[in-house]
Symmetry: C2
Subunit: 133 residues, 2 copies
């Protein structure tokens, strides 16, 4: 197989840290599951493998989503916005849980008046998700 061009990666406006925000949206429900960051290597691997790979800013390493939790994201579509600085993934969320808190997605705090209220249930406690290893 011929090597793929990497011009599509050069087209992206990486920030000063070499990252772009990436949104994972569930293909079946349209739900916005999470936002994480990608560097060039993470996005290249995501495109190559059709599994979401992010860059963990706290751990400073590639984060293959689901590597610990089993909650992989199979990538169906990759989009780039008009400014070429945000990526949108359409994904199939394995296990139905995207958030490390054990919730379906990460946007579970809703502004009600002047308070953030948790409005989504924990499907599986984090101790059960991460406690097996």
């Amino acid at each position: 197989m011929a090597a793929m061009s990497t011009e599509w990666l050069d087209a992206i406006k990486w920030d000063r840290d070499g990252l772009v925000p990436a949104i994972a949206q569930e293909a079946s429900s349209g739900k916005v599951l999470m936002v994480a960051w990608m560097n060039r290597e993470a996005l290249a691997e995501t495109a190559r493998t059709s599994k979401a790979v992010y860059w963990s800013r706290s751990r400073r390493k590639l984060w293959r989503k689901g590597e610990e939790s089993g909650h992989e994201q199979v990538v169906r579509d990759i989009r780039l916005d008009c400014d070429s600085d945000v990526v949108l993934l359409s994904v199939e969320q394995k296990g139905g849980i995207a958030c490390h808190t054990g919730r379906q997605h990460c946007f579970f705090q809703q502004l009600q008046g002047d308070r953030w209220v948790t409005v989504e249930p924990v499907i599986k406690p984090a101790s059960e998700i991460y406690g097996k290893k």
Copy 2:
């Protein structure tokens, strides 16, 4: 009316520039329309007025979405993610156009093999949207 607490703004993990990314998702369709940035003032005004207000990094000023285009976003719901560093708005998009290119949304570049391909039509040319003033 008693002054509202601003603790909910303190709960947000603003980045080193005092900003957070904000995703606008269309309430009716679930479509991810755009991502922009908010500072504290932008988010406070968004919550107070139920109209999306962002911080324009290029113009370095508040950007009341639709102020030039008429394409306002009426905000139905404001969410915060598990790390408290990304905001998700559920909006009603006035005019059916969120993108400054005249497309319904900003994520119109799709990765096909090793190329970004524009897969969404221009609904109204930018010259018509912005040319009136």
